[in-house]
C-alpha cells in the first residue's frame, strides 16, 4: 500500500493473545514454586526468564516496573527473603522455595503500608514510574530500622532512580512513615 506522499505503508500485525500464550507455554519447561505475597505459587516458566518477566507477564503483577532491565534504576525492586533486589537481574529458578514480596503485597487487608500512605500524603509521586520500586526499598529499610536518619534513608534509596521529583519529597515521605510499630512495618519473608 502507498500513501498520499508515495511512501510505502507497512501494516503491522500483532500476534493475538492466544498466539502469545501458546508461545510462552512452549518455552515454559521449568517447574517453579515459591511464596509470593504470602501465598504459595506453582507455575511453569522458561528457566532463562527473569523474575521481572515472570511477575509481569505470567502472573500479571504489573506493579513492579522496569526501565533499564540492567540493575541500574531500581524500578523493578522486590523483596527476596525480605531483602530488596532488582527483579530484572534474578532468574526465576533462583527464587525456588524462597519468599518474594512485590509492591502489591505490602498492603495488609485493606490498609496500605505506611510508606504508601505517606507517599500519597507528602506528594512524593509525579509520573509514578519509580514509585513502586522506591516504596519497596523504603519498606525494607523501615522493617529493620523504624527511626532512620536522613542519611540512612538516602543510603537505602541509593539504588532507585527518579527522573521527576528531585527526591526531596520522597525522603520526606519515608521519614514521615518512620516510627510506626514493628508489626505494621513487617514485610514478611525474612530469613
Amino acid at each position: 500500500m502507498t500513501n498520499a506522499s508515495g511512501v510505502e505503508e507497512q501494516t503491522l500485525t500483532l500476534p493475538s493473545e492466544q498466539e502469545v500464550e501458546k508461545l510462552r507455554a512452549a518455552e515454559a519447561t521449568w517447574s517453579l514454586s515459591f511464596t509470593l505475597n504470602g501465598e504459595s505459587v506453582e507455575l511453569m516458566v522458561d528457566p532463562t526468564e527473569t523474575l521481572y518477566d515472570t511477575l509481569r507477564e505470567r502472573l500479571r503483577l504489573i506493579g513492579t516496573k522496569g526501565a533499564c532491565l540492567e540493575g541500574e534504576c531500581g524500578s523493578c525492586t522486590v523483596l527476596l527473603d525480605g531483602k530488596p533486589v532488582t527483579a530484572c537481574l534474578v532468574t526465576s529458578p533462583q527464587v525456588q522455595g524462597r519468599t518474594v514480596v512485590t509492591v502489591e503485597g505490602l498492603a495488609k487487608d485493606d490498609r496500605l503500608h505506611p510508606v504508601q500512605e505517606s507517599f500519597i500524603a507528602c506528594g512524593a509521586v509525579q509520573c509514578g514510574y519509580c514509585t513502586p520500586g522506591l516504596i519497596v526499598s523504603a519498606a525494607a529499610l523501615l522493617a529493620h530500622n523504624s527511626t532512620p536518619s536522613v542519611e540512612e534513608v538516602r543510603e537505602a534509596l541509593e539504588g532507585n532512580l527518579c527522573r521527576c521529583t528531585g527526591y526531596t519529597k520522597i525522603i520526606d515521605a519515608v521519614l514521615e512513615a518512620a516510627g510506626d510499630e514493628p508489626a505494621v512495618m513487617s514485610v514478611g519473608g525474612e530469613k
Binding site: T48, T50, G71, P84, T86, L89, T91, Q94
Partner: protein, 289 residues
Amino acid sequence: MTDTLYYQPKSVDEALQIKAELGAEGTFLAGGTDVVVGIRKGKLKVARTIDLSQVPGLDGIRRHDGFLEIGAMTTHKALEQHDVPAALAQSCETVGGPQIRYLGTVGGQIGTASPAGDVSVALIALKADVELRSAARGTRRLPLDEVFVGPGKTVIADDEMVTRVFVPLGRRSDFYKIGKRDAVAISLVMAAASVGPAGDVAIAIGCVAPVPLRIKRAEALLDARGLSDEAVDEAATIAREDCSPISDHRGGADYRRAMAGTLTKRLLSRLREVTPVKAKPAESSAEVA
C-alpha cells in the same frame, strides 16, 4: 546428561560434576549481576547456565586459623554487615546500590575478573588467597592477584569453581574509590592498601591496567624502607609508572595514571597515621603466597 540448558545443582559436588561435563559451555550463575546484564547487553553468550542458588554451604563468613574464610556465594551486603577488614567493608559498600549488594557475590566478582572490581582490588591489597575446586583434582589455593590475567580472563580452569576466599586477619587497611557519582557508579580509579603486623605493605589499584593491579615493586620498596615520606613518594611514582591505563567514556588515561599515584600516597599516608591496632597476628600468608 539431558540436554537442559539450565541446571540447578543441589550440592557442590553435583555443581562440579556438571561443570566438568559442560566445560566452557557451562556458565555459573551466582548473583547474576554480571551474567544477566551481560546476556541482556549481548556481551555475554551463555550456552548453559549452572545456577548455584540452591547449593548449600557456599556462603558464610568465619574466622579460622588467622584467616577470615569467605564462601564464594557470600554477598557484598553480608560482608558489609559483618566485622571484616576496613578495606573489604569499604569496597563492598561502594558496589552498586543496596539491591546489587544483596545479589552480587564474592565468587561472582572474582569470576568476572573486571579491572574495575572494587572488592577484588580490596582483597588483593589484603593479600587474600582464593580456593579453587574441581571434581577431578580437588582444591588448590593461590593468591588472588595471580588469578587474573586480563579483562574477563582468569587462570580458573573450565572444570573449576571458586569455593572460598581466605583473608589474613590483623592487617590494617584502607580503600579509596573515585567514581562519577556516589552510588551505582563503576569506579573511574580505585585503590586499596594494607599493612601487616610485621609492617609489610600491600597495594592494589583498579581501572589502571587489564587486571586489578598489585604494585609489587612499590611493596618491595616500602618493605625495605618503611613508610617514610620519601619512600611513600617513591611508591607513588612507581604506581604511576607501573600502570597502563586506557581512556574511555569514564575518564582519560592521563588522569587515571595521575590518580594511581595520588591514591597510593593518600592511602599510605592514612595507614601511617592510624595507630596500629593490636591485631591478632595473621598466620603467615607466606606459606601460601
